[in-house]
């Protein structure tokens, strides 16, 4: 088991490293392709001609005149060890590891921006994830246990609808109904849970529901098909033959086995979600990582885009890693067949 974990961990590190290289290269290639100096992606429109001494000074300041590998090392060592951002005149900015650089547009360390935005996204993702996992699995289980019944048909048709409705439809619709028409949930802005749990909850409820609606549908359908398959297995027959009660058979024996692929997908979904809540955050005006990335893309603020990309990739890789390990614990057969 230890060897299994170590191997997986090494694999995860390699993947993250590759992501850092690829991301870095993309953001070197893009300016070249659009015939713009990479300096633009740091400080915005520059009114200096390309060959002027001003441009050269800026290029030198940001290290774009260094060879590619040196630039990459500077970028990587910043993340690993931290770096000091200095221009030789102003107060040097201490950027501790992991350092994702400095956003000259926002006058802030990218790390700080992400640290402020991350809790919003994490609140959103985890809350929605819990909702959709419980909701989806419950609906799917009930459907699986009564296939063809009204419960099943309603559940599955509802799931199909939920999966087909994009979040930029369900989100505003929920807002219109609950906030504007019924006035049940007033427009509250996000506050961290440590500051005001009640307001945190109120500001998160509608985003949670919109997101959970979308994903829960997938999980309901998946649970249904897994459960139907599992309930037909021989060991279910054995469990019943032992005299176990129906709930015990369904949950301890059935769901326990059916849930394993769902756990895998859940981990990966959650990991991917952290990097892709852009639409939800825009619709509900939540200043999370998604909002940050959209703002950065609109402003073409490269350090922030780089930072968010790497973080999203790291989260996904970690999620995958955890899911791999978890699977080995859930399914005792896994470690043997490495």
């Amino acid at each position: 088991m230890i060897r299994f974990i170590v191997v997986r961990l090494l694999g995860a590190i390699v993947v993250v490293w590759i992501v850092s290289v690829v991301t870095f290269l993309i953001f070197q290639i893009v300016p070249t392709l659009s015939h713009t100096s990479p300096v633009y992606y740091y400080i915005g429109k520059i009114p200096f001609p390309p060959d002027s001494i001003q441009m050269k000074a800026l290029i030198h300041r940001f290290g774009f005149d260094l060879p590619l590998y040196a630039q990459y090392w500077h970028f990587l060592s910043g993340i690993l060890f931290g770096q000091t951002i200095t221009d030789g005149v102003s107060t040097p900015i201490q950027c501790s590891a992991p350092c994702f650089g400095y956003s000259f547009r926002q006058h802030q360390l990218v790390g700080t921006m992400m640290a402020t935005a991350a809790p919003v996204t994490i609140s959103l993702c985890i809350g929605a994830a819990i909702l959709w996992l419980i909701g989806g699995v419950t609906v799917g289980t009930f459907s699986a246990l009564n296939p063809g019944s009204l419960v099943d048909r309603v559940g599955m048709t509802g799931s199909l609808a939920a999966v087909s409705l994009p979040i930029f439809f369900t989100g505003p619709l929920l807002l219109l109904v609950f906030e504007y028409t019924l006035g049940v949930l007033p427009d509250v802005s996000y506050l961290p849970i440590t500051q005001d749990p009640a307001q945190w909850f109120r500001s998160m409820i509608l985003p949670w529901v919109s997101l959970a609606f979308l994903f829960g549908a997938l999980y309901a359908r998946l649970t249904r098909s897994n459960m139907i398959e599992t309930m037909g297995e021989d060991y279910i027959r054995t469990a019943r033959a032992k005299g176990l009660s129906r709930p015990t058979v369904i949950v301890r024996h059935g769901l326990r086995a059916a849930i394993t692929p769902i756990v895998t997908i859940f981990g990966i979904d959650l990991g991917t979600l952290v990097g892709s809540t852009v639409i939800t955050e825009t619709v509900f005006n939540l200043r999370g990582l998604g909002y940050l990335s959209i703002q950065a893309i609109q402003q073409q603020d490269l350090p922030v885009i780089l930072g968010v990309t790497i973080i999203a990739a790291v989260v996904l890789v970690i999620a995958n890693f955890i899911v791999d390990i978890l699977y080995a614990f859930i399914d005792p057969r896994v470690t043997v067949y490495q």
Partner: protein
């Protein structure tokens, strides 16, 4: 009609019923293609201490019968009619909850493939403890001790450490022993073994059968051994029931069936058995044709389409009239066939027996 299961148990003398009594059991499954008549009018009796072997080809209804006895068709779309009396309690009409009480405590079952029949995610020991805890109010520790004791009893070495192992960490034979431990831990009076040795090597087969017999002796339980292997039947059973097309076609004491069988299907089974004492060059004689569709069961005698002896019967009674199960001369030996009894015995003596 139901008998409340809380009625006092009537055992042994004092009742006309056998310990296990199956009366005209029918299990039909409605499907999109039609009504599948898996079991169509099966009746037999079994006393405690007896081992009954149910023999037949795949699809003859053997497993469906055993599941019906355990009441495992309840909640599915199967239509079960007839009566099943276990120790004075009627199962077909009982509710799921009532029957569930009996499963594991009064009747246990072991299945063909122990690898797929044990839950892959729980340790073997935990599954056995679970079987115990369902019917007995004890602490988890006591249940574990009992489970270990049971594992030792079924011959698994190093039981305390093997308690924590998972099914895939056992060999085939050990797995089956563990299954037996799990089925018998509550000491049920009826054990149903559905092809317990089919998935195992021959050497292991013998060990398992030994084990079943041992435990049966100890508990004095009734055992139903379902198999398609006549050798197993010869070794182990007291009574045999031959099933074909969802019906019993011949039933009787084991000796009768091997030395005086009277139904053409049984003859066919015996002839298709490879035997050590026959000349190796002789070909095996399989029964021509294939098992009947349980949706379109042949009219008349269910075996008539494959029976080489239909010409021994006048007219086409074989094809039109459904024969009843009739008692033969020897007590307990019943046959379902239109060929007159004397003629059957004749054919056995002269045509079949010599060729075996």
């Amino acid at each position: 009609m139901t008998t409340p299961l809380s009625a006092p148990t009537l055992r042994g003398g004092g009742t006309s019923r056998a310990f296990l009594e199956v009366k005209d059991l029918r299990v039909h499954f409605p499907t999109a293609d039609g009504l599948v008549k898996s079991v169509d009018g099966l009746s037999f009796e079994l006393e405690r201490g007896e081992i009954l072997g149910i023999v037949g080809e795949s699809g003859s209804g053997k497993s469906v019968t055993s599941l019906a006895i355990l009441g495992l068709h309840k909640g599915s779309n199967a239509r079960v009619t007839g009566e099943i009396w276990l120790d004075g309690r009627e199962i077909v009409g009982a509710t799921e909850d009532e029957v569930r009480d009996l499963r594991g405590s009064e009747m246990g079952m072991i299945f063909q493939d122990p690898l797929s029949s044990l839950h892959p995610f729980y340790s073997v020991g935990a599954q056995i403890s679970e079987a115990y805890l369902v019917h007995t109010k004890v602490s988890k520790k006591d249940a574990k001790a009992e489970a270990i004791r049971m594992l030792e009893k079924v011959g698994i070495p190093n039981a305390p450490s093997r308690y924590n192992d998972y099914p895939h960490q056992f060999s085939g034979g050990m797995r089956q022993r563990a299954m037996i431990a799990m089925a018998l831990i509550c000491q049920p009076q009826l054990l149903i073994a559905d092809e317990p040795t089919t998935a195992l090597d021959v050497t292991v087969q013998a060990q398992i059968l030994e084990l079943i017999k041992e435990l049966h002796d100890e508990l004095n339980s009734a055992v139903i051994l379902i198999t398609h292997d006549l050798g197993v039947v010869a070794e182990t059973c007291d009574k045999v029931l031959v099933m074909y097309g969802g019906q019993c076609v011949e039933m009787g004491p084991v000796d009768e069936l091997f030395y005086a069988p009277e139904m053409p299907y049984t003859w066919g089974l015996l002839r298709s058995m490879p035997r050590m004492d026959r000349d190796r060059q002789t070909r095996l004689t399989p029964i021509p044709g294939s098992p009947p569709s349980l949706i379109n069961v042949p009219s008349g005698c269910v075996f008539n389409t494959r029976c080489p002896f239909t010409d021994r019967v006048d007219g086409d009674r074989c094809r039109t009239v459904h024969p009843n199960l009739e008692q033969g001369p020897t007590p307990g030996h019943a046959v379902r066939c239109h060929i007159p009894a004397a003629q059957r015995q004749e054919i056995w003596r002269t045509e079949i027996s010599p060729s075996l």
